[in-house]
């Protein structure tokens, strides 16, 4: 059946949905095929998290004392959240690259679903984030980290991490649509991500930070995420006695943070995509 012969009437909703899904998968496969040509792209989600786990586990574990179970038990929750935050960079650079090259015009002149471009990036980058999560979990287990809670809590912990990864990917897509060049993306992303993930309880308990910095760390959404993951995995949270509300209810506030960011970023991303691709 040629495209010429097929199109006499507008396709039904069911057909359009099926095409929307298959178009998104075609574009996700395209993004993953790029990895085969530029394997370095995978370093972010393979070697880098592994290196972080090993560095922190061996370099800091002697120096940082965490009450209630040792530094390695504490570390994993933080490093998981940090690595998934870096997930912003992947979709941001690949979308900015696609926009600077003419390929988006090609896609837009084809009878494919409009949303497939963003969904394709979301699918392929979610696959990359899940690979990073698996590698970090495995490397954590190798250095002695364990899940001390039960299976439902462990599943909830991974589900929360997946939701967080999903949220960061939307943020990355928005950044990619806002950026003028792919190079600008990396710079902006690192300027934001480093302070965000370090002025938090990611690697050291926030209680030890000087006043001012400590308040920032305690209200940082990254801290809530890390505390929630630690709680769900039964790892030490090392919370100070007078921790603020978000840290005392970490799972709830982590969910709320993700929901809030998605509620703002998803519509902005879709609108920005329409603007960027409107002639």
């Amino acid at each position: 059946m040629s495209a010429q012969a097929s199109a006499t009437a507008a396709p039904s909703v069911a057909v359009r949905l099926r095409w929307g899904l298959s178009d998104s998968l075609v574009l996700a496969r395209r993004n993953l095929a790029h990895v085969r040509q530029i394997p370095e792209k995978l370093l972010d989600v393979t070697v880098q998290p592994l290196m972080f786990v090993l560095l922190f586990a061996y370099v800091f574990s002697g120096a940082i004392h965490v009450p209630g179970g040792g530094y390695r038990q504490y570390l994993l929750g933080g490093i998981l959240v940090q690595t998934l935050t870096f997930g912003i960079v992947g979709p941001a650079t690949s979308i900015a690259t696609d926009l600077t090259e003419g390929i988006v015009d090609r896609f837009r002149s084809l009878p494919m679903s409009r949303s497939a471009f963003l969904l394709g990036h979301l699918i392929s980058d979610l696959a990359a984030s899940m690979l990073a999560l698996a590698i970090m979990t495995a490397s954590g287990l190798i250095v002695g980290w364990r899940i001390h809670s039960d299976i439902p809590h462990a599943i909830a912990g991974f589900a929360l991490l997946a939701l967080f990864a999903f949220t960061m990917l939307w943020l990355g897509m928005l950044l990619g649509l806002l950026a003028r060049t792919p190079d600008a993306v990396t710079g902006v992303a690192f300027i934001v991500i480093f302070p965000l993930t370090f002025i938090a309880n990611t690697f050291v308990p926030a209680g030890g930070l000087p006043a001012g910095l400590r308040q920032v760390a305690e209200w940082n959404p990254i801290s809530a995420l890390a505390a929630a993951v630690r709680t769900l995995f039964g790892n030490p949270t090392a919370l100070p006695a007078h921790a603020p509300w978000p840290l005392l209810h970490p799972a709830l506030s982590a969910l709320a943070w993700c929901a809030l960011v998605l509620a703002i970023v998803v519509p902005l991303t879709i609108r920005r995509y329409r603007v960027r691709t409107a002639g």
Binding site: S6, R106, S109
Partner: protein, 336 residues
Amino acid sequence: MASVAQAHDPTRPAQGGVLAEGLGKRYGELWALRDVDLYIPSGSVLGLLGHNGAGKTTAIRILTTLAAPSAGRASVAGLDVVRDAARVRERIGLAGQYATVDGLLTARVNLEMVGSLYHLPRARARARADELLELLGLADAAERLVRTFSGGMRRRLDLAASLVGEPPVLFLDEPTTGLDPQGRNDLWALLRRLVDDGTTLVLTTQYLEEADRLADTITVLDRGRIVANGPPAELKARVGGERIEITLTSSEGLDGAADALQAFADGQAIVDAEQPLVTVPVRAGTRLVEVVHALDTAGVDAVDVHRREATLDDVFLTLTGTQPPPAPEPQEVSAT
């Protein structure tokens, strides 16, 4: 100047063709395209001729649903480009001014991907990719990454991508830019074949010769507006086909040279005192030997005499009486 010379029956939609009425596109205060009427019957070829910034690319982008018109309306294959954009895309192929293929995929994977996005079954998409790689002489490079391709190969692959869906209406934006003469001739032959098989073709070009070779109708755009429209023969009759250019040692001989050339002229001589240079459109069959003899008799001190085909600049000089605008930014139009 009046836009469309060709009459058409407004009650019958252009089934496989293209129709535009009062089409305009404004960027801020600038109209990149204004009051453009087009009628391209199914199976015919329209050449959009103009300099950079004349509005050619803008017109193509509106007709291929990539840009929304600010004024007027257009239909492709009987479907409105705004209201029925999705279905228009099923019936068109586009090869833009810059190759829009994925450098990190092989040529074959690029074409298969495009086939999948036309919702061809996988086996059909693969077969179509093979056919097109063969047709465009890329079969040997099928498994190579596109980023290793030369500019000409990229353009050919881009054209192949535009043909995957067997579109009844094909849009090509400056398709021969970056091709060597051989590649250009091959492309022209291929386009001829597609048109003979019933494809409606809209192409833009900066070369009068190319429009003349391929198009049934030439529309000349200048700063977003149509300045001439008609069959190539008619345009050439107005503009004159050939030019003779005389370069002199000094500007003093210019008038004498222009007078001496009157005997061969088919239009107004144009004198450029800066160069110094005289350009005259001449009748077909004018012999260069006779021209040189006439100049010699008149005592004109010419350092160079040569004959050439009319160019787009000549078209502008003849039609608008002004030099074409200096090339502004692509897709935009100078404010003057």
